[in-house]
């Protein structure tokens, strides 16, 4: 007999499976990396390229500048990066020491910065990183004034794109002796990181907190404020008001080490729309390019970087993709992916501590699978590819500096992307929801 296999649109097999899982386990799913659902993103935009009215630059002859200065609003020592692609904050604890060192090596070889994370600064990452951004998080795990003074910039973390409004989570299996000591907590217990700062609430307090950090560090270091993409227009405005030198905005696709799946998939807005809102705020306050904007959440290619800059970002930040450059989800040690119930290309098991490729683990055997020198080289190659792609697109649009890319160089392929990015739908002059006068 022919089977009648008409799927329920409301209850497709994936939903039924999840209901069964929930009914068996009685608890939500926790996992790593970013949203798995499709949202409007940079792939929904294209560059127009050069034409009769725009002259391209010669690919191998004419220079195309990629350097960017971050933090020259108030800091005495702003940071000059060679490329506008930075490495996002990822905690030691979530990642192993080798992974942190590899990130530092790769970033430094390309003249860009890397960032600490929840859990403090390791000496490996400090010594391997030319520019190291030190995060001040609600948990304050490992926070101390010596490391603060050793940092090249300070990033006050208000939120993360994967979980705006959520605290951190590091499950007990990842808490070895060193991680526990850095966080002043017993070994092997589940660690929750607070979702709110312990000593300030709201933008007025943040302004005073920033003043304190500047006083401790002689007004030398740029102060970044990182927010998840919740209400980017207002958050950008308030971060500027609070005295930030740099705003870091993380869209909903942004990765995490361990968060509830429901949080990752259902809280926050896509990077594309968030970026537009944030640039609006900067421009309205006449602060665009004076306070720099770093955008993150789902950046993968030089095209993503170029489109983000064209929409008004000063730089981008990458987390998941940098881990992938270190072999996350690579087709190696297949049997260990199997043990986790997954396959290369689908893994999101950073929370388990059993990372098959030695990136998101504290297990000494697994960690050996990542050689920090080789990892650093792969990250360097990856960053270098992104940079070349970025320059290719900038030259094609006639730009001698990647930050001269502009929204007028873009068209949207979908109505949604046109509305979010506020660029016209390709082949039309239509921007949904935007009135010129």
């Amino acid at each position: 007999m022919k089977k009648d296999l008409k799927e329920f649109k409301t209850f497709p097999s994936s939903v039924i499976k999840e209901i069964h899982r929930a009914a068996n386990e009685g608890i939500y799913k926790i996992r790593g990396l970013g949203a798995k659902r499709k949202v409007p993103d940079f792939d929904d935009l294209v560059f127009l390229g050069a034409s009769m009215s725009r002259y391209p630059l010669e690919g191998y002859r004419e220079k195309c500048n990629t350097s960017v200065i971050l933090g020259d609003r108030f800091a005495k020592k702003p940071i000059k990066l060679d490329i506008p692609i930075t490495i996002a904050g990822m905690s030691f604890g979530a990642l192993g020491a080798n992974a942190k060192e590899a990130l530092g090596r790769g970033a430094s070889a390309m003249g860009t910065s890397t960032t600490t994370g929840d859990g403090g600064m390791t000496k490996e990452e400090r010594s391997s990183s030319k520019y190291l951004i030190y995060q001040l998080l609600p948990s304050r795990y490992g926070m101390n004034p010596e490391d603060l003074r050793k940092a090249d910039a300070i990033e006050v973390v208000v939120g993360q794109g994967a979980k705006p409004g959520g605290g951190g989570m590091l499950l007990g299996q990842k808490i070895n002796k060193r991680v526990a000591a850095m966080r002043t907590l017993p070994e092997g217990i589940d660690q929750r990181s607070a979702c709110r700062h312990p000593d300030w609430t709201g933008p007025d307090d943040l302004e005073i907190k920033i003043q304190e950090l500047r006083e401790i560090t002689n007004w030398e270091k740029p102060i970044y404020v990182k927010v998840g993409a919740a209400r980017p227009y207002y958050d950008t405005t308030l971060a500027i008001k609070a005295g930030a030198d740099v705003v870091v905005l993380d869209g909903m696709q942004g990765g995490t080490a361990a968060t509830q799946d429901v949080f990752i998939e259902h809280v926050g807005i896509p990077t594309l729309g968030a970026l537009r809102e944030s640039v609006d705020a900067l421009k309205e306050l006449n602060m665009h390019r004076k306070v720099q904007l770093i955008i993150s959440g789902g950046i993968r290619t030089g095209a993503d970087v170029a489109k983000a800059l064209a929409m008004g970002a000063d730089a981008v930040s990458i987390g998941s993709a940098a881990m992938m450059a270190l072999n996350c989800n690579a087709d190696l040690y297949r049997e260990d992916y199997e043990k986790l119930g997954t396959e290369p290309g689908f893994c999101h098991h950073c929370h388990t501590g059993k990372c098959p490729v030695g990136v998101a683990t504290q297990d000494p055997v697994l960690e050996k699978r990542l050689n920090p020198v080789d990892g650093g080289k792969r990250l360097k190659n990856y960053l270098s590819t992104l940079t070349l792609e970025l320059q290719t697109l900038a030259r094609a649009n006639g730009k001698s500096d990647v930050r001269n890319l502009e929204p007028e160089d873009l068209a949207a392929l979908t109505v949604e992307a046109a509305a979010m990015a506020r660029v016209p739908l390709a082949g039309t002059d239509w921007i949904p929801g935007f009135k010129k006068y």
Binding site: P198, D199, I208, E215
Partner: protein, 226 residues
């Protein structure tokens, strides 16, 4: 040596105190007219004595290392936040989040401390001669919070390994915080702290509170606490 904060900019004063010339013998400083300014005496890192005559704003003595700082007045939010070592004495009252995330050293508040005193503390000793506000020692990880007066609601919510001692009444305990036995070891510990600080007080009058350690691993049976 005296600094008048009416006449000298805070940046200059902090800068001086943060960069003490170790060959110089000057080790005692007095700051007058603080007028509630924020971030006074933050990031000090030498063994010096600083007396502040008046009230201070937020984060006074923030991230202190080694210095002894005494405030003859009240202090704003986050006094001695993330302190590493040294001693900070407040003659008046303290606002919220006093001693937040402190890693070491001693914070003494002779008056009352407001809510979240000792929040996320990581090894500091905090002594409050008066009472503390709600949610004090929230997520406190290590160190001792010693309260001579009363504690308001939700004391020690989600506490880890820090110890809380209260002489007066406790309005209510937060999630996973329970009263624990005050044994010989605890009495000796308190005695030692009091002795070092020249405080005459009987440790036996205090009750001890700490973690029931039931939330250390995420378990579905604890759902109502999350």
């Amino acid at each position: 040596m005296n600094f008048d904060l009416n006449k000298k900019k805070l940046r200059e004063v902090n800068n001086y105190l943060q960069n003490i010339d170790r060959k110089d013998n000057k080790r005692k400083f007095e700051l007058s007219n603080p007028q509630g300014q924020h971030a006074i005496c933050v990031g000090l890192k030498d063994e010096i004595d600083v007396t502040i005559k008046g009230h201070t704003g937020y984060y006074c003595a923030g991230m202190n290392q080694k210095a002894n700082i005494t405030v003859h007045g009240n202090v704003g939010t986050g006094v001695a936040e993330n302190m590493m070592s040294g001693k900070v004495i407040i003659k008046g009252n303290a606002s919220q989040s006093a001693g937040a995330t402190g890693n070491g050293g001693t914070l003494i508040i002779e008056g009352d401390a407001s809510s979240r005193c000792g929040i996320s503390m990581k090894g500091i000793n905090i002594l409050v001669k008066g009472s503390v506000g709600h949610m004090s020692a929230f997520m406190a990880q290590k160190g001792n919070l010693i309260v001579f007066g009363d504690a308001d609601s939700d004391l020690g919510d989600s506490i880890y390994e820090a110890k809380i001692f209260v002489k007066g009444k406790v309005k209510s305990l937060g999630a996973d915080c329970v009263e624990k036995k005050m044994d010989e070891k605890n009495i000796n510990e308190l005695n030692k702290i009091f002795k070092e600080l020249n405080i005459s007080e009987d440790p036996k009058k205090f009750k001890r509170y700490g973690s029931a350690r039931k939330l250390y691993h995420f378990k579905i049976d604890n759902l109502s606490s999350y």
